[in-house]
Symmetry: C2
Subunit: 745 residues, 2 copies
Amino acid sequence: MSKKDHQLHKLFAPRGIAVIGASSKPGKVGYAIVRNLQSSGYAGEIYPINPKAEQILGYQCYDKVENIPPDKTVDLAVIALPAAAILEITKSCSKRGIHFIIVYSAGFKETGPEGAKLEAELKEFCRENDIALLGPNCVGLIDTHTPMNASFARSFSKKGNVAFISQSGAMLVAMMDMSELLELGFSHFVSLGNKTVLNEIDFLQYAAWDPNTAVIICYLEDIVDGKKFLDIAGSISLKKPVIILKSGSSSSGARAASSHTGSLAGADKAYSAAFKQSAVLRASSMEDMFDMAAAFSNQPLPKGNRIAVVTNSGGPGILTTDQIEELGMQMARFTAETSKELRNYLPYECSVYNPVDVLADTPRERFQFSLEKVINDPGVDGIITLLCPATAPPVELAQAIKDTFEKYPEKPILSAFMGGEEMQEGISLLRKAGLPCYSFPERAVIAMNGMVKYVQSIEALRQKNIHRKKTSVIEGLEETSYVNNMQKAQVKAIFYDALKERRVVLLEHEGAQILEAFGIKCAPTYLAKGPEMAAQIAEQIGFPVVLKIASPKILHKTDIGGVLVGVDNTQGVIQGFKDIIQRARHFLPDAPLYGVEVQKMMPQGTETIIGSSYDVQFGPMLVFGLGGIYVNLFEDVSLRLAANLTEKDVEEMISETKAYRLIKGFRGKSPLDLQSLKEATLKLAHLVLEFPEIKEMDINPLMVYEKGICAVDVKITLSHEINIQQQPVEEQKELLIDQLAERRS
Amino acid sequence: MSKKDHQLHKLFAPRGIAVIGASSKPGKVGYAIVRNLQSSGYAGEIYPINPKAEQILGYQCYDKVENIPPDKTVDLAVIALPAAAILEITKSCSKRGIHFIIVYSAGFKETGPEGAKLEAELKEFCRENDIALLGPNCVGLIDTHTPMNASFARSFSKKGNVAFISQSGAMLVAMMDMSELLELGFSHFVSLGNKTVLNEIDFLQYAAWDPNTAVIICYLEDIVDGKKFLDIAGSISLKKPVIILKSGSSSSGARAASSHTGSLAGADKAYSAAFKQSAVLRASSMEDMFDMAAAFSNQPLPKGNRIAVVTNSGGPGILTTDQIEELGMQMARFTAETSKELRNYLPYECSVYNPVDVLADTPRERFQFSLEKVINDPGVDGIITLLCPATAPPVELAQAIKDTFEKYPEKPILSAFMGGEEMQEGISLLRKAGLPCYSFPERAVIAMNGMVKYVQSIEALRQKNIHRKKTSVIEGLEETSYVNNMQKAQVKAIFYDALKERRVVLLEHEGAQILEAFGIKCAPTYLAKGPEMAAQIAEQIGFPVVLKIASPKILHKTDIGGVLVGVDNTQGVIQGFKDIIQRARHFLPDAPLYGVEVQKMMPQGTETIIGSSYDVQFGPMLVFGLGGIYVNLFEDVSLRLAANLTEKDVEEMISETKAYRLIKGFRGKSPLDLQSLKEATLKLAHLVLEFPEIKEMDINPLMVYEKGICAVDVKITLSHEINIQQQPVEEQKELLIDQLAERRS
């Protein structure tokens, strides 16, 4: 693909720009934009549009965009006019053949219903007329390679290979300003604004393609199209590291949930799961994001997680060791040869193990010798150097680091120079050479950890992709047709019955039927409408059984004496049925009673929970963890989005929990049937992807045995928004009607 | 107390200083010290000691310290000579009447056995001759108020109120250098070196007393006298905030442990517990420590945890909100009046709720108005201001913050100014005015959180102290004599028997007797030597019972069929006894068998664990948490050092665990007997403080019931180092012999 091929490329490198709302008055946005385009060295033509001015900053003005002579190529229009004027101007641009537009103006949906209406109209027009619009309500766009500053921010960043896509304009400007201080170079900046037409997905894809970009960093408050994100983010990560700082974790806790799974899920966790499944690094702060960007921008990726520390002071060396281990990396173990060579060369007081302590009085030679030995040790994947004020000038030691890296550019070196003014020259020397240098050791460790985690997560993603191609898990399940249309129709029929009765919480025997339809083994559960029927069922499924009141209005069955466990004979079932119904009538005289559900009592196994909660952005999210009554106490759960889930993901998901240790055989016990558990989880993923109308569901407990699993208690809640007219779908209606007839008979 | 009164004051403000090993050659330590003393503006006399020089830097030299004329006052000698010469020179100093010495020289215990010997001799001499020696192997000491730079570090810090005590000399120098950049002023710096005589305890006490110090920060690799630390640190915290950065967390995981408690404890956790119990803030990184120091140094303490954010950009505002809540602080809720006044004044697009967003184009007036309204809201305890590049110059907005703080100096304001060069003047203006300003919002949040946590923890400590005075818990228990000498003797007798038999792991019935002696209710457990005796015991304690093989060599009793539960009749006990013995003989023919322990089977309760593990620094450390077989799976535990433990500490300790939610009544169940649990924990604390020879002990499970508790399984391991000659102590020997006789009969 040639550089010109990407559909958004003209937005980043237009051949001519119309500045609509251009102004000759300093202080106005319309002035700042012309000035910024000019001062950024933009080489194309600039056409200020202003009916009252002749010239602005030396460029000839036009009264209307339509009046720019037709022989002039105008790829991009940037607009700084009041919100009310934007739609008409956009139409004019479209007429003039301009397909790329940046709108800076505020006054849209962020201001209320009127602005939202304006924005909706704008969006519709753009969609219909194939207009790629950035904004409105944004700071603009900057490309340091074109070069072009199509923003109203004064400054222009250092040129480099980091793309920054930001939902906060102010943060973008701050970082652009900071880039000089940090010697961190950017390829382009995008201020997303209201994301009316173009959104983060478009710009992630552009940055992935952009040959000038090597690292992508994003600040996001939300993701507009979660499912698309899941489809594309992984492949972008495989090309370039993507670091996302996502805000809003605190506001997502308030979600009301009717199930365990629901209360354990939550929107922010869905984002985390989406990032994890896509090998996207989630930054936990602005500082972390920029510190990681500096490392990725210039340094090679480490091949593994074994880190060596070379320091001229013991204390910071120990702190760095602590943190390396705390973050899950390893302190490298040197070969005997490295240790011997260091021992032979270094003064007796130096530590020749990791961290290597070359002492405060280190001359340049000693420092460089140690660094070279360490970087060449095959057991070392990355190096952190630490410097406190030393006898040798910091600039000499910085030079030693630079020389070593130039000689051996295969492994990343991150540094922390601690001190005052006298450190600055050395720090600057390193940064200019593309060697990140931080003020404190912990910053270097966090950045190194980002690189290590990226390498690990893309490796895992590659494995999953290979695996997916080989086995095509989710699709594979479909292909093998273990769930055929007949079985899907069974599920729909159950939903249909529930919705007809305006129930959104399914009864247990209905849940069991749904699971069985998808091949997940369940404790046999049937609805008995009378005591004799209950007895018959019990005899058929075998004793002992559990009896449970069946009513859409009774959610806490135990509280009203609606559950009887361990009933082991016919007479007990008959009497139990009557007792349960009587108690229910007594406590809740108005509740509709469907009868009593009779469930075969299953042997005790290890209790786990699997469930799903529907996330508005990303679709169904699965939960796995320790089950039983203490689920919410232990919160030992792991989450994954169902979309594109592979068996490897499920394996990973299970292995992140404490429940996994029980499954592997805790304290000498026999291991349990992990394979059946994984299959059940994948089948659940299939079920909830097939039926997005399942808002929440819990299987708790899902008993895991040495051989096999069994779902014992199934709770399924359908979405309130489900429209009965949509279900059943046309082509299966007939089948469904047959099914219904069969079930009713 | 007058300033001159503190015993270490002459070390920080000596009236005359002898520089032994002074040199006239730049580059030598002995030169640097004289130069530093001179350039720091030290006002006392300086006496370089150098037999070969006439004068150094204008000061008259002496050949020996003894030859400084007797009419000259010399309070301090600083020594830069090889290690081998230090002891003799110290003796000379002592003869000259000098009681304060700083030794810079390396070559002591850090270099091996020979150096350790030198150091031990030096230590002994100092102790015997009342010499307060700092070092050896240190950078020295600096007091900015005296002023005096008695270190070999070139730079001299900005004067201020932060004391820095550091076990890393290099870190100290780095921070001294950084102080100018950060505008952070220090009162004094102490480089601890090998801590041969003076250690962190001495300097913590000095800093607590020092009128020039308001905040104490420490970098420590260990604490020499843990028990003393526990005695004094709390009272220091009540006077001044103490922030400690303790390294070495990664090396402490390797400890071998024979009990649950032991494996859950570990040295680094003991440090954390010690800090927590003393209201000391534990910093997690160098940056956190210094960012917190900047806040404490100049700002008033917040009265609570309700934080307001005033920002000119939305994105950083949301990130800050996330982090405030994540760290356990609260976003302040404004009064209706504040919101109304903000609404009336601010443009429509501004957010008038917390975070208050005054927009990027904020003029100074708007920013200051908002800040003043917010700081005066009674629901606000602290303010964080955030600034991204704005229309108004940052220096004007900095001035607005400064003016607001000067008008309303009751609440802390921390700021983050994000951006490049153009922010620097504003940042500098704030810092000079004592208003900490950070580069990223998360730094401000961490610093604010440090202040909030300090206020909360000293309040808790005050409550505990009041409580302790009122009830004198541990001592109180002693006073009420619920454990009398007779009962202590019972315990000692059991230890005596075990040690005679070279057992360090006690049998269960022994453990039960020990607990009973200290008033902790236990499942009745007795040793039966034959089947009939077992039957008798069972009949006496009541059925059902549990039978367990009793052998010091059989630790995993269940594995060899050595445990029988639920035995509910006499015949069963007799047969069970025989079966257990037979199986033990079969599997472990050489194990000595003491018989079978018969334990009353207790009703099922909520299983908790309480235990203790002896920490070499801090003495016994208690563990409380969820019990049962999954203790190590859940690791739901909370730790406290037993020394000075109050009922409040125990309450806090229990409430930190998930087990607490079960005890309070999980999901509608009845609450359990928290009071009995607390009492049992306090009694356990008493036991392990009384008997430090208990290396580790577990009570797991300790059943907690709606009424009462019961220890079911008790495992006590004694220290290997215990010397049988020390036990029993002389004055109780007779009593013990009686006891022994009684037990044997």
